[in-house]
Amino acid sequence: MSTLKDKLEAGEFAITCEAGPPKGVDLENELKEAEEIAGLIDAFNVTDLQSSAMRMSSVAMCRLLEERGLETVYQMTCRDRNRLALQSSLLGAWALGMENVLALTGDYTTLGDHPDAMPVFDLDSIQLLETIERLNGGEDLVGNELKGSPQFFPGAAANPGADPLKPQILKSRMKADHGARFFQTQAVYDSDVFAKFMEELRDAGVETPVMVGILPLKSAGMARFMDANIAGVVIPDEVIKELTDASDTVQKSLEICSRVINETADLCEGVHLMPMGWEEYVPDILDGTDL
């Protein structure tokens, strides 16, 4: 039973939080951190070799979280597996108890720590969503019947800060048309940008629930870097200035996160936290909001 699905479908505000598997087999920290904030979070998104860096598989960590009673969102990219392996991993994930899947294209191999790896991209994110829909319907990609079919709750990524915005809206609509039942967005720092995205998305007829992406900025330097280098991340100058002038950067950073949540919560259906090592501050971020 997916709480995430139940909440989003009932129109209740949902909260997800990213959890990255370790590079190695020692999961102690990752599991402890997740368990500590579990009461605040509806589901943990377990990343799939994020930024193309080699790590433990998403499905393994999902299972370990599920065993501890924590719901997960199994993130899946198209970078490392062809259509055979993707479908087979999905069936395995369902058998191990995962119900929520986030279908992603994936970063390119050369951006990670194994730049010489073979990039696969046999499918793209839309085709992966379509694949999940087929499996849910009881058949594989070529129409062979399955012996027992999954009932995944599939989601997709969206980028409110994309410039130009129109292609992003069209792509999001395509994702919804091919089975995405929720969106988790890239990090948002400017609620006006987010409001514009939501308005255009709804105008395009896409009613799919959207969870606003929140990622704490650890320093003014990180903010400047992300603003300049990360696709679709727009960080207003005032926010960078706030961080530069702050005597307590951590406090300020958490305040900014809470503020963005407050400014966007009414426009969307949930929040997707990406603490990137700041899991311990998740309660502070949420405490600072009106949620």
């Binding site: 970063d107 390119y108 050369t110 951006l111 990039p119 991209f121 046999d122 990524a157 792509k171 890239q186």
Partner: protein, 227 residues
């Protein structure tokens, strides 16, 4: 020698829905040799267009459409005919279709599927332009190949890494899907961007070029001589 196969007529007919007048362009380079682009095929396509009620504004067969500079000069002489057409139907390899698409501000429909680079290349050969995928998608992508212009070879729009028109992989490389979006917008066919392109039939290319298409010099000399 680049090898192409004619697309089924029903597929081409679908592309032309909504167009009244069509200019028909063929290639006399490799495609004449393989029978999928030259005068004969253009004649056949022209007949089918007539029968189907399309107004064929003109036909022309150019040698090596893949050579954009050369093709540009030849097309310039008939620019008025092209101007009054709703679209162009191009019987050539994927490289030639892309060259034409860069030269004219109209929707360019591909008439063939490119399946192999064969042996001796055309005058403007480039694996960088066409991956001979055997299921040409240029109809849906504004005459810009998503398999070569997008680093990930995505078939249904840009990934999240596209930033200010550039690809996430290299800062100076344009995002192929941004180019496709802009091009479709320019020719008034943004509706095509939401067409779902299903997973590719990979066995048609990469490691699985069908045997009957392996009539390259390499195949004849090195692979078949052993038999």
């Amino acid at each position: 020698m680049i090898l192409s196969e004619p697309k089924p007529w029903e597929e081409i007919e679908g592309y032309l829905e909504g167009d009244d007048s069509v200019f028909l362009l063929g290639c006399d380079g490799c495609d004449a040799a393989t029978g999928d682009g030259g005068a004969e095929r253009v004649g056949e396509l022209s007949g089918k267009l007539d029968e189907g009620g399309w107004n064929v504004t003109g036909t022309k067969v150019i040698e090596f459409l893949c050579n954009k500079a050369l093709a540009g000069m030849k097309l310039a002489r008939i620019s008025d005919l092209i101007e009054e057409s709703d679209s162009l139907l191009v019987s050539c390899c994927g490289i030639g279709v892309q060259a034409v698409s860069k030269l004219v501000d109209k929707q360019v429909h591909p008439a063939n599927d490119t399946v192999s680079m064969g042996d001796f290349h055309g005058t403007w050969p480039s694996e960088e332009t066409c991956k001979r995928c055997g299921e040409c998608l240029l109809e849906y992508t504004g005459g810009i190949c998503p398999l070569t212009m997008c680093v990930k070879g995505l078939l249904n729009g840009a990934c999240g890494g596209s930033y200010e028109g550039k690809c996430e992989v290299e800062p100076d490389r344009p995002c192929g899907w941004e180019l496709i979006y802009e091009r479709l917008k320019d020719v008034g066919r943004l509706d095509l961007i939401e067409e779902y392109n299903p997973p590719k039939a990979r066995q048609k290319y990469q490691f699985g070029v069908p045997m009957e298409n392996r009539n390259s010099l390499y195949w004849a000399i090195e692979a078949e001589e052993g038999e």
